[in-house]
């Protein structure tokens, strides 16, 4: 099992060439080969969700994927959420404001889960959000404040989108994007 294989991965928009054994999980490659230790490992068998990353915009368990499987995909980790200056995204700020984290070990997984989900379902209500949050385990918070954080973020994004639409010139094309442009969001929730 020591054969290595050349693998090209795109992580947070950056391309990496790696020589790794085929049995190496995506979680290990992200954490230990690329040094992106924000993605955590809590169970290595696909239940806890601490290792959740986005693979082509959809939340996925990095512990259940071999890195060789995702060569042609765009991978995003928690490190991609904040700005280059470390400024927090609206979602991250919501987690902080609602005390949605205590020890913080589960947090990257929940952030990426919510990031992927809200992009897909911007109109999610609290019950739907709770159901999605139930994909991951947290041992500290009792989940309520995580649900609060995601719900609040969804609401703020909707409000930002609405005000962007309201202030747009009438002649502008009416096809609203699935998720609001990042700049509009940042402005509204700052």
């Amino acid at each position: 099992m020591t054969d290595v294989q050349l693998v090209e991965l795109t992580v947070n928009g950056e391309r990496h060439e790696l020589a790794i054994p085929p049995r190496r999980t995506l979680a290990d490659v992200l954490r230990h080969d690329l040094g992106l230790t924000g993605t955590h490992v809590g169970c290595e068998h696909g239940i806890c969700g601490a290792c959740t990353v986005l693979v082509d915009d959809a939340p996925a368990r990095a512990c259940l994927l071999f890195a060789v499987q995702v060569e042609n995909a765009a991978i995003r980790t928690v490190e991609s959420l904040s700005g280059p200056d470390g400024g927090l995204s609206d979602l991250q700020r919501c987690f902080g404001e609602h005390h949605g984290l205590q020890c913080g070990f589960c947090t990257p997984g929940f952030l990426m889960l919510a990031e992927g989900y809200l992009a897909e379902s911007p109109d999610a209500d609290r019950e739907e959000i709770r159901e999605v949050v139930a994909s991951n385990l947290c041992r500290c918070t009792g989940y309520q404040t995580i649900v609060d954080a995601v719900e609040d973020c969804a609401g703020r994004r909707r409000a930002a989108l609405q005000s962007a639409l309201d202030s747009a010139p009438r002649s502008a094309p009416q096809s609203a994007p699935q998720s609001a442009p990042q700049s509009a969001l940042d402005g509204a929730s700052a």
């Binding site: 806890c48 959420l81 991250q92 902080g96 385990l137 500290c140």
Partner: protein
Amino acid sequence: MAEPGFRRDGSWVGASVPRREDPRLLTGRGRFVDDITLPRMLHAAFVRSTEAHARVVDVDLSEVRAVPGVVAAFAAADLALRDITALLDRPIEEFVPTSMPVLAGEKVRYVGEPLAIVLATDPYAAEDGVEAALVGLDPLDPVVTEAAALAAAGPPVHDEAPGNVLVDVSLFATEGIDDVFADAHTVVSVEARTGRQNALPLETRGVVADWDDRDEQLVVRTCTQVPHQVRTVLARCAGLDERQVRVLVPDMGGGFGQKCVVGREEIAAAAAKRLRRPVKWIEDRREALTASFLAREQHYTARAAFTADGEILALESDVVCDMGAYSCYPFTAGIEPLMASAEMPGVYRVPAYRVRGRAVTTNKAPTAPYRGVSRPQYVMVMERLMERAARELGLDALEVRRRNLITEFPYRGVNAITYDPGSYRESLDLCEQVLRDEGWPGRSLSDGRVLGIGYSCFSERTGYGSGAFAARKMQVVPGFDLSQITMDLDGTVTVTTGTLSHGQSHETTFAQIVADRLGLPYDKVTIVQGDTDRITYGWGSFASRSVTIGGSAAAAAAVKLGDQLRALAAHLAGTDVDSARLDGRGGVRAGDRTFSYAELADVAYLRAHLLPKEVGPGLTATASFDVGGDGTFSNATHGCVVALDPGTGGVEILRYVCVEDCGVAIHPRVVEGQARGGIAQGIAGALFEQVVYDELGQPLAPSFMEYKVPTAAEIPDVRIEHLETPCAFTADGAKGAGEGGTIGAPAAVLNAVNDALRTTGVELDSTPIPRAALFAALNQEAS
């Protein structure tokens, strides 16, 4: 403190300020043990026992060493480390000392016990190596249940304890109690069992150890709640001086007690430093579920005598705790029976009390104190006794509680404990009122499910000082804490604490406490924790002691530093010390002058010739704190509404209310977080989680597929109401808030389920509540 701080009165304490931990944790820049990588680092994995009980015939590692990537492999004899031994100062009739070897050499006592350590260049290779080990085990009959342990029919778990009883204490026996029971109007009894649970921090245990040639030190980074105790044990096991070991604790993904004892794998991995290469061991989830420290498995036989109007006259309890294969360091196997024995009367006025507490050893993974320690269990039993008495006497269960709750403080209990003031009665009244206002009582569901409402009343002793641990006769006596504060040239301060945050926000809350004492913004206060080189000695974080004891030590150190600053300012202004005052905004007023802290620090460090003769340079103060009396007592009432589904036996929690009183909340949002998280763990114990073994002692829940950890779908939103009965002798009147949620929840859930079952005549007293029993109870009339 007149300068506007975060709250209107200018204090930082009491304000839910932004957590200083958050930015790094939210961006993936937190640093947990597994995030640490050192050059030339080796990865460890353990060869573990596949038998619950066996003599070790042979551990052959020759094939292991041939596996590609494996650098070395050591069995017990190769590492030759001293055993880990936790002792009580009790006579042999009460306590049988046993030891836990770092690696098992002669005998294995549970499935998963480590026999050898394999070191390889990457963790995959280390696991390959483990698979190549040839272990010869000669099986013995395993002792799997507490009943089998007490029957002592087969080979004992430890030869030193032929009856498998490690601790047997009868702490209290009120004279004449038999007559009280004989003469009482009503006697009710409860037999209850609580399942074995895993505290289950989401971050498993782990360690990175490296030898530092410059400092001649073994530097051990590990996620522990008790860094100094790890240092002490490691030094003793490996024959090093204390100062040759430095324990550093990075960010920590939870602990809940599982990490407040010293683990053997950490010691073995650190000892592998003989290769002169850094060694990392990260426990995998399977190890964490089967071979880590477990908790909670207890069996109560209890009865209580009541008057006709529901007043309790006497309480008797026999508790047997299944501690598994080994006694944990430093608490020993006595932790659970001693806690249960000492505190079972809880919030009720119990005039007569008799108790026997035993710790038995079995061939299951050893136990550690888990959030709440025995209190979730005995509170559950007490609350069942109250409910049962009410039922037998035809009284309202809340009324029975009200007749027995302690209402006058300080109260000296039959258990020789003095309770400091709390709001036992008030919290019950408010909890009931909240549920009444929400319209729950009397409501029914249209979907055929049955509604039940349950309560639990409890207090939790939080600030256990060294007196409380000494009373337990622990040979290693935790309790105090030491804090040192240093002001730098720029007038900002750094405070050390011997306590250790694993999610409880010490970097924020301790800064708030110190900021108020010195009139500094809380972000000008840096907290140092988890470094045995920078902190003289500390007792870490467990038993909700951080804010009460550690916080009080930090506050005292800050006050001392403030006194130094006042003295210095007075000297410079030529006035007397008594007239010098901290101005609450980073300065000292002395005479008609005001000195900023930076000005004073400038003198203390850069112009020491201006200091008074008897004062040396620098600005540092040290203080310690210990609770003189019996500790602080936070209290709460929990109220829970459940819906039982007759079709499936399923339980859904529809509403949960917690009225808590932890004295002054330093950071109310953190307190709420502790309560919610604790309640989730309590609900987990009541309804879901159980470590199950088969009759050969094989663990049947080695993954999250079998060990059911509740998710957001099972844990309800919790409404929290705060009451505030300040503590008279801790910093800011805080009482500690880490464990209450876990303590109160099992009883509240169980009582709610029983309330829903009331028409069936069935009463359940054990947890986790078996769905099959619920189904049967709900469907018995139909059949």
